[in-house]
Symmetry: D2
Subunit: 351 residues, 4 copies
C-alpha cells in the first residue's frame, strides 16, 4: 500500500482520479486539495462517492506542497497548465513521485512549450527528467521515472493508433490528418457560456482550428516514432456527450495498392503491426470484423478501441479510435502509470 494525494481534485479529471483511487487495491487516498472546496468532505463535494467509507472522512485541504510531501508517496497534479510546476518542484525535492496531468512536462522543448502555451516554461530544467506517461509506448521508462507527464486526451487517441504504423514504416510521416470529436468534459468544469447545456446540446462544432495546443505533444511524439520531424493536421470538434473522444485518422500507406487484392495484402501488414504492438495490451482493443469504434463502448473504462480500413479507391488507410477522455485520456492512464512504476499489476483498480 502507498499513500497518494491529488492536487486540484475538484475538476472533472480530479473527480475521476478520486473515483479510481478510492477503489484502488494498493493505493490509499491520503489527501485531496481544492482551494474552492477546502474544509468540505469528499462526500459533500461528490455525492456519487458518498457511500464509500472514506468519502465521509476525507476533507479537501488548501494545497500545500510541503505538507503533501509528508502525507503522500505519490502525488497526482490535476491543475491547469502553468501551475503544475509550482507544486512539482517541492514535491520532487520532498521525495514524492509526481504524476502530472497537465501539459507542463509533456514536451522536451521549452521553446515549443512557449510557442503553444504562450508563456515561458516555469521549470525548464525538469523537462529532461519527465517521462511521457503513455504506458503502451514507454512502459520501461515509466518504471524508472519520478516525474510522469501524463498525456493529453486528444494525443492519446491519436498516438496509440499511429505510432505502431510509423515505427513499422507502413505509413508516410507526412500528410497525417487527425479529425477528433470530444465530449464536453474535455473543456473542464469551468463556468463559461460556451459550455452551458443549451449552448452544447443540439450543437456540433469545430474549434481551435488549425493550431490546437495538443499539436505540440502529438507532433513531438510522432517525430520520435518516425525518426523524422512530423507535422500533422488536427481538427477538434465539440460533441454533445459528457465523455468520450472519437478520432478518425487519414494516413498514407508507404505502398501503393491499385485494387482490393492489393489492399488486402497491405492490410495484413497493418494487422500484423497492430497485433505486435497491442495484442497483449490490457487497455487497447483491436476491433475485428465489421466492428467500428463507438465511444459508448469505452466510456468509464481505461480502454482505447482501434479499427482500421484500407480504401482501395483512394489508396488511403483510415484508422479510427475511441476512448474515454477522462479515463484513458487522463486519470485512468495516470493510474496505469502509477501501477507500472509501483510494480503493481498494471490493471489494478482499472478493471
Amino acid at each position: 500500500m502507498k499513500k497518494v494525494a491529488i492536487v486540484g481534485a475538484s475538476g472533472y479529471s480530479g473527480e475521476e482520479l478520486v473515483r479510481l483511487l478510492l477503489n484502488h487495491p494498493q493505493a490509499e487516498l491520503a489527501a485531496v486539495t481544492s482551494r474552492q472546496y477546502a474544509g468540505q468532505t469528499l462526500a459533500q463535494v461528490f455525492p456519487r462517492f458518498a457511500n464509500h467509507p472514506q468519502a465521509k472522512a476525507l476533507r479537501f485541504t488548501e494545497p500545500n506542497a510541503d505538507l503533501l510531501a509528508k502525507q503522500a508517496d505519490i502525488v497526482f497534479l490535476a491543475l491547469p497548465h502553468g501551475v503544475a510546476a509550482e507544486y512539482a518542484v517541492p514535491l520532487l525535492n520532498g521525495g514524492c513521485t509526481v504524476i502530472d496531468l497537465s501539459a507542463d512536462f509533456r514536451l522536451r522543448s521549452a521553446a515549443i512549450y512557449q510557442e503553444f502555451y504562450a508563456h515561458e516554461h516555469p521549470a525548464p530544467d525538469l523537462l529532461a527528467k519527465a517521462m511521457y506517461g503513455l504506458p503502451e509506448i514507454y512502459r520501461e521508462e515509466i518504471k524508472k521515472s519520478q516525474l510522469i507527464a501524463s498525456p493529453g486526451c486528444y494525443p492519446t487517441s491519436i498516438l496509440l493508433p499511429t505510432i505502431p504504423l510509423l515505427k513499422a514504416r507502413l505509413i508516410k510521416p507526412a500528410g497525417i490528418i487527425a479529425d477528433s470529436l470530444s465530449g464536453v468534459s474535455g473543456a473542464g468544469r469551468k463556468a463559461e457560456l460556451d459550455y452551458l447545456f443549451c449552448e452544447c446540446n443540439e450543437s456540433v462544432r469545430p474549434y481551435g482550428v488549425p493550431k490546437h495546443r495538443h499539436l505540440s505533444e502529438i507532433e513531438e511524439q510522432l517525430s520520435f516514432a518516425a525518426g523524422t520531424p512530423v507535422t500533422i493536421q488536427f481538427t477538434p470538434h465539440l460533441i454533445p456527450v459528457n465523455r468520450g473522444i472519437l478520432t478518425t485518422l487519414y494516413l498514407a500507406p508507404v505502398e501503393h495498392f491499385a485494387d482490393a487484392a492489393g489492399a488486402a495484402a497491405f492490410g495484413e501488414k497493418v494487422a500484423a503491426a497492430y497485433r505486435a504492438a497491442y495484442a497483449n495490451e490490457p487497455f487497447v482493443r483491436l476491433l475485428e470484423g465489421k466492428a467500428l469504434p463507438d465511444t459508448k463502448n469505452v466510456v468509464g473504462t481505461n480502454v482505447c478501441e482501434i479499427a482500421w480500413r484500407l480504401d482501395p479507391r483512394t489508396g488511403r488507410l483510415i484508422v479510427m479510435s475511441a476512448e474515454d477522455n477522462l479515463v484513458k485520456g487522463a486519470s485512468g492512464q495516470a493510474v496505469q502509470s502509477m501501477n507500472i512504476l509501483c510494480g503493481w499489476p498494471e490493471t489494478a483498480g482499472l478493471i
Copy 2:
C-alpha cells in the same frame, strides 16, 4: 398558387416538407400519402402541426400516382431509393413536375447507380432528363426541368464548400477528404435497434467506412466542377443530436505557401472565390472573423454556413460547413428548387 402533394410524408424528411409546405405562401398542400397512416389527418400524425387550419382537414391517403397526377401540379417524392421511379414515371406522364428526394435520379450513370445501390436502376431513361437540384450551382437548369433530383444531405454539405474552389482551380481535385458528422434523423424514422435513444445518446461513432452510397453523387458532381474525374475520401459519423450535419474538408491548395504571409495571399483568392459564388446567395452564409460553423445556428433553417482556414504549418486548406440535414440537406432545398422552377421568390416559405 399551385397544388402540391407529398408521397411518403410520414418519415422525417416528409414531415419537414409538410411543415414547409403548410406555411408556403404560394403552394397549397393538396395531398399527402402514407401507407402506414392512410385515413388519419395530418393533425393526428404530426401533433406539432395540429393548430394549422389545414392539418385537421387533410388526411393521409394510400399512394396512387394516377390520382396524384390529377390532384397536384408538383409532387414531392420522399421515398426510399429504388421506389421513387415507380411514381415518377406516371406522374411525369400525367404532366406533373416531380421533385424527388431519394437517390434515384441524382446520377447520370445507371452503372454507377447499380454499383452503389446494389440493384439495377428502375428507370434509366429518366436519368438524362433529371436535373440535380442544387440551386446554387444549377439554378438556370432547374428552371427548365420537370424532374428534379434533390441532393442528399451529406452531398450538399460537401459540394457547396468545394465546388467554387474546384471551379476556380484553387484546389487540387485529387486527395479531397470529407469528414462528416450527422444527427440521427439522417437515419430516417426506422424502428431499428441501432437508432434507439440508449444506443445513440452518449455515443459517437463512424459508420459506412470507407464506401458510403453518397460518394456516387458527390464524386459525379465534383468531377463536373473539376472537369476531371474526382475520387474523394468520405467518413460519416453518427452524433447524438436530432438534426444537423457538420462537415470538415481537408483540401490541397494548388499553390504552395511557406508561411503566414503566403497563406494570407492565397487566402484572398479563396475569399474572392467564395464571395463570387455566394455573396448574393440567400442560403449560404460565409462566416467572418473568428466564427466557425455550428449546427445549432442552422437547425430549422435552409442555410449552409461555411468557414475556412489556411494552415501555414501544413499548407492545407480546411473548410467547414454546417447545415440542417432535413432542411438544406433535404426538404428545404427541395422547396427552394420548387420556388425556382415556379418563378417564385427563391426564399418563399423558407425564411
Copy 3:
C-alpha cells in the same frame, strides 16, 4: 406597422423575441439593447438570424429609456426581476406601451412581491396599472392596458389547465399539486456551474423545493379564478432538454365518483369546461383519444397542449400540459399580447 424595441435582448427570452419580431408582419424591430453586446449587430450575436436582411443592419445599443421612448411604440423588457421598473417608468411616461417579461409587475401585492423576491418592490404604484398578460384569461383587459406583465413559464403551464376548472367549480381550490419539468433554458443564459452541459446532461433533479418564486403569481391568479385564497404545492425539476415544460397537475374533483361510470359522467363536465374555455383558442390544444402532451410537439410554437385523465381508483383528476417555456411561456405569449392590444390578428407572427 409599429416600431418595437427589446431591452435585454441577449438572453434566451430576448433571443426568442428577436426571432419572433424579425418575422412579424406588423412590427418593425427598431432597437435592441444589451450592455454586453452593445455595438455588435444582431447577425454577429445571433448567427442563426444572420440571413435575415435586418440582422446585419441592426446593432445592439446600451439601454437608454429616454432614447427608446423616441425609437419605439412598444418596448419589450427582457430583464432580471428588480430591474424592469427602472425602464418601465420612463417608457410609460414617454408614451410607450411596455410588455415586461420579468416578474416585476405580475403581482397586485407589493408585500407578496417582497416576500418572494426578497427586496422591496421598486415601483409599487404601477402594480395596479399592470395587466397580467395571459391572453386566454384576460384578453379584453389586455386590449386596454399600457403595461403588460407577461406571465412566467411555469405559471402559464399551470394556470391554463387549472383556471377553467376552478371557474366552473369542478375542482376544489384546496390541495392542488403541480409537478413541473423544465428544460435548461429556463435557467437563463448564465455562466454558472450548475447549468454546464456535463452537470445537466444525464441528470434529472428537483430544485427550489418547496417555495419557488413563481408560486406567488400562480396562487394570486388561482385565487382570482376560485374566488377564494388558494395555496398550492409546486415542485419544479430540471430536465436535460433545451426547451419545454411538462406539468402534471393533481386535482380533487368536487364530486365523488366510485367507479368508471361515475368518472365518465364527471369527465363530460371536465371536457365541456375545457371546450368552453379553449375550443376556439388558437394557442391551446386539447388532446383527444389516447394522446398525452409531449414537449417535442410544442417546442418552437406558441401552443400549450392539455390532456386529462380521471382516475376511478383514486377519485382524482390528473391534468397534463406541455409548452415551450421560451414561446408560450415567455416571448410568444408577449407577442400574443402585443397582437391583442394593437388590434392585429392574434396569431400574427406566431404561426
Copy 4:
C-alpha cells in the same frame, strides 16, 4: 464461490447483470442465454466488457432450464413478464436458487396479477413461496428464500422512501401521490418507433396514465407496511437520459402543523424514522442540508438517494428519491439479494 447464470442476458437489465457478475468476487458467471445471440461471445455482443478475460470465452447459449440447473447454483431471470415462470419451475425443481427480475413473482395475489398484466398467472402456486427482494425491508426473509422476486424500478424508488414513514405511522396511508421520471432504458432494448433517439431526445412526456402495471406491487407492499389497503396515484414520465429514476412523493403527515416551528418539530420525527430505517444501510443515502437527489449522483451505483422537505404553507411532506433504474432498480438489487442469501458481504461486487 458459486456458479451463476443469466437467462435473457441481452436486454439492458441483462447487460447490467453481466457487468456486475463479471466483476463479483464470489460469483462465477457460468452461463448466459439469449435466443438472438446464441453462439456469440460476451465480448462480441457487449464490446464494453470485451477486455474482461471471461468475456472472450463465455458464449451465449439457447436457454435450456434443465441444462442451466446443472451449470449454475443461482439463476437470474431477466425475461419479459409471463415467461419467467416457464424457467423458474424446472430450475427450482433442479435445486437452483432463482432470482427473477420480471414481474411474475412480485405479487401475492394471482387475481391482481391478472388484473394488471392481462393474462392468467402461469404458476400461481409459486407466489406464496416467492419473496419480494427489497433487502432494506425483507433482509431476513431473503436469507431463507429460494425464489426471489426482485422489485421493479419504479416500485423501488417509491417504496424505499415511503415504507419507513408508513410503518412509523407518520403519514396517512390515503392520498399518496408518486410522480416519477425515468430514463429511456426503462423501456427495454426494443426496436420500437417510440424509443428512437429522435422521438425521445428533446422530449418530455407522461405515459401509462393513470394505471401503470407497477401500481400492483407498489400498492401491495405499501398495504403491508401500513397494515391497511393502500391505493396511490402514480404518474410515470419518459425523460431523455439513458438511466435514472427521479421520484417526487406527495405525502400527508398525520399531524397538522401550522407554521415553520410546527414543521420543524414534525420534521424531527421524519428524520428519526429515516435514520432508524436507513442510517446503517449501505445503499440508501439520506441527503443532508440543502442537497436534493440528482440521478447523476447515483447512475452506475446501487444507491438510492432520499431527501425530504416539509412545507409549512401546505402542511405536506415532499419526499424525493433518485436511483439508477438498471442497478438499484433492477440488476444491482438482484445481486444485493444474492449476496444476502449466500451470506456474503451485502456490498460484494456492488461498490
